[in-house]
């Protein structure tokens, strides 16, 4: 294990968005707020990219009195998060610019402040070495994003916000009990130590922890963070929140908010596995929740009429797929991490397209969205392409990551898992394809002629599709090494 380097830059990844949040509160107009988010967040993302690169080139960063830690696993998640945030921030400008009613200055300030605030909170989750602070960050993301759902106040958006607040706050409270139990197990091994909640420390002493306490802790953690990650049957808040939030916010929710919670579960896997003698106990639980999510989502996708709810159930399905992957050994972990990026990018594009198509048609009812390719070629392509990629059509990258998960299942002789996975994926494929074809090719609905797409809009649609296509055909060597080193941490190595 190499000695972690001093990484004082890590502070900036949290401090810059926090500063952006304050700046947004003081800006003079809605236009200014949207411009500052669309330019500022990608800039922060590029700066964070440099930190991520440093981790993969030189090893983990540990700083600020061991409070902040960035290793391959968290650096990879940080990179995905920054990518999704940057895309969504640029899209937010397009989306709110095309709304029939422009944002008032007050609403825009609120949006900007909470948007940057959510970025800071998610960065805190990913960067935190202390499991307690990590929990504080997850709860903070719930509270900061709540008002983003009801940015446009309406009875249904308030209903969705209330469910989100209560279900996630209560769910995450369980994760806190799990964190406390884990802390107590660690404290029992280290009388007088003040470090018992630090991941690096708990990870080092994992083999000495009381396995019964660790198991109890993991059940609480899985239920708690699983609620926030939208794993069935704990997903009840998810379709409502995703469908009622404005499109850029839905993209962020689906693209990374869920992954933030799943990341927290990932952090505990190597600890639990080491403590329980590497018998695959925690992995079995993940496979169970994952398969249940896939099947439940498949049933709801078949019967769905609302475009954004369709995409929301796809999130339940794909988070389930990632959970299954995590449960299937080293190759499965590798595939799960790869799938994280693919799903986030694809789903962000899906919600971007759903948002713009919804604005053009004035509805999210898929029975009334017909002939999207003729009505607006660019966003029609975005919608059709993202759904095709989502359901795992080759040669998009999601096909490849799902294929790797199937391979991992076959290699570990998990044939029941394999069969259920294929059944769920098959049902989703057929169900969603039918919706997608109707929306793309049907007789165009009579709608007011949309305005022409700008170059920026073109880039937002083409870039994610191109990325998915390239990664589906060819995986660059450095990226593969990045995934491998992150997957090794899930397997219990400190590197």
């Amino acid at each position: 294990m190499s000695v972690p380097m001093p990484g004082d830059v890590l502070w900036l990844v949290i401090a810059l968005p926090a500063a952006g949040s304050l700046v947004c509160l003081a800006l003079p107009s809605a236009r200014a707020v949207l411009a500052v988010t669309a330019a500022g967040v990608p800039a922060i993302a590029v700066a964070s990219g440099a930190v991520v690169w440093q981790v993969f080139a030189h090893g983990p960063l540990l700083t600020a009195g061991r409070w902040l830690y960035l290793d391959a696993l968290s650096a990879y998640h940080l990179a995905v998060m920054m990518l999704i945030f940057a895309l969504s921030s640029v899209f937010a400008r397009v989306y709110f610019g095309a709304e029939p009613m422009p944002l008032s200055r007050r609403r825009a300030r609120r949006f900007g402040a909470l948007w940057y605030g959510a970025l800071a909170a998610m960065a805190l989750v990913v960067l935190s070495n202390n499991l307690g602070i990590m929990w504080v960050g997850v709860e903070a993301t719930t509270l900061l994003t709540a008002f983003l759902i009801c940015l446009h106040v309406s009875p249904v958006s308030l209903e969705a916000t209330w469910k989100y607040l209560i279900v996630c706050s209560v769910g995450v409270a369980f994760a806190f009990m799990g964190t406390l139990l884990m802390g107590s197990a660690a404290a029992a091994c280290s009388p007088g130590g003040a470090q018992f909640l630090n991941w690096t420390y708990v990870h080092d002493i994992a083999s000495r922890l009381d396995p019964r306490v660790v198991k109890l802790a993991f059940i609480f953690l899985l239920v708690g963070y699983g609620t926030k990650a939208g794993l069935a049957p704990l997903h009840s808040w998810l379709p409502d929140a995703h469908s009622q939030a404005p499109a850029p916010v839905s993209a962020l929710f689906s693209g990374f908010l869920l992954n933030t919670a799943l990341y927290c579960i990932m952090r505990f896997i190597p600890i639990v596995e080491t403590a329980t003698g590497n018998a695959g106990w925690s992995r079995g639980l993940l496979v169970f929740f994952g398969l249940f999510s896939i099947l439940l989502a498949a049933a709801f996708i078949l019967a769905q009429h609302d475009l954004k709810r369709l995409l929301a159930y796809h999130s339940v399905e794909h988070l389930g797929i990632i959970a299954v992957g995590l449960g299937l050994g080293p190759l499965g972990s590798f595939a799960a991490l790869f799938h994280t990026l693919n799903h986030s990018v694809c789903k962000a594009l899906g919600f971007f397209s759903a948002g713009r198509v919804g604005q053009i048609y004035g509805t999210h009812d898929m029975r009334r969205i017909t002939g999207a390719l003729k009505v607006h070629a660019l966003w029609g392509v975005g919608l059709f392409g993202s759904i095709l990629a989502l359901i795992g059509l080759a040669p998009f990258a999601i096909f490849l990551s799902e294929f790797l998960i199937v391979k991992a299942a076959a290699e570990t002789k998990a044939y029941v898992t394999l069969a259920i996975f294929l059944l769920g994926a098959g049902v989703v494929f057929i169900g969603a394809l039918r919706h997608a074809i109707d929306m793309a090719w049907g007789t165009p609905a009579a709608v007011p002629a949309p305005r022409r797409a700008s170059i920026l809009e073109g880039a937002i649609v083409i870039a994610p599709l191109a990325l998915l296509l390239v990664l589906g055909l060819w995986m660059p060597r450095p990226f593969q090494e990045m995934l491998s080193s992150a997957a090794r941490i899930l397997g219990g190595s400190a590197q």
């Binding site: 249904v156 469910k163 406390l180």
Partner: protein, 214 residues
């Protein structure tokens, strides 16, 4: 000090049952405030005793749970102009019976759970904390009003705080304060939401927030 800790926990249990039996909303809010103050006192009588850390923590908890939260909730209630009754799905008599059953389950769980040896030798803390958590959950699912769901959340939070004190000593102050900040913001956000809901719907009945399905 163990006698004092057990006394505090016993008082918390009585408050739990009183909460299930009462039908007046303002009284519920007051009961939870008293329970919050009791939770705030726990660190002072813990084995670590009166240190700067426990005093700061106790002061923060008592100020928030004893004074700030009840005020926020009362204001939200007045702003929303709601009827003063709790309106449970489950009547107060049956609630009390269920509460007693939960208490029994908590004692059984408290004896069964493989909690680490660091747990203090006081008898009531772990079962009391579990009971408070379960009653908080029960209040959240069995009461109609949005505001009673917040009350339930606070009871749950009190239970978790007591549970934490029982099984982990000396959580760094920074983390404790971060948690309190989160809880404070959560209640604040929920109070604002209750105001918005009452403006939009003319009621704050969470059971009638049911337009979104499938």
């Amino acid at each position: 000090m163990h006698g004092v800790t057990d006394g505090i926990m016993a008082a918390m249990l009585v408050l739990n049952l009183a909460l299930l039996g009462t039908s007046r909303l303002t009284f519920c809010i007051r009961l939870v405030a008293v329970q919050g103050v009791l939770v705030g006192l726990l660190p002072l009588v813990s084995p670590s005793g009166m240190t700067l850390r426990t005093v700061v923590l106790a002061a923060a908890v008592i100020a928030l749970k004893g004074a700030v939260f009840p005020r926020l909730l009362s204001n939200a209630m007045r702003g929303a102009d709601v009827r003063r009754e709790v309106e449970p799905y489950v009547g107060s008599g049956l609630s009390l019976l269920l509460g007693l059953a939960l208490l029994g389950i908590s004692f059984w769980l408290g004896a069964k759970l493989p909690l680490p040896a660091a747990a203090p030798e006081v008898a009531l803390v772990v079962p009391g904390a579990i009971c408070t958590i379960l009653i908080g959950l029960f209040v959240i699912v069995s009461r109609k009003k949005a505001i009673t769901q917040v009350v339930g959340y606070l009871v749950l939070e009190n239970g978790i705080a007591a549970f934490g004190l029982a099984i982990v000593q000396d959580v760094p102050l920074l983390i404790e304060l971060g948690i309190l900040l989160d809880v404070f913001v959560a209640v604040f956000v929920m109070a604002i939401m209750i105001y918005h809901i009452s403006q939009e719907f003319d009621h704050i009945d969470a059971d009638r927030l049911s337009a979104l399905k499938g």
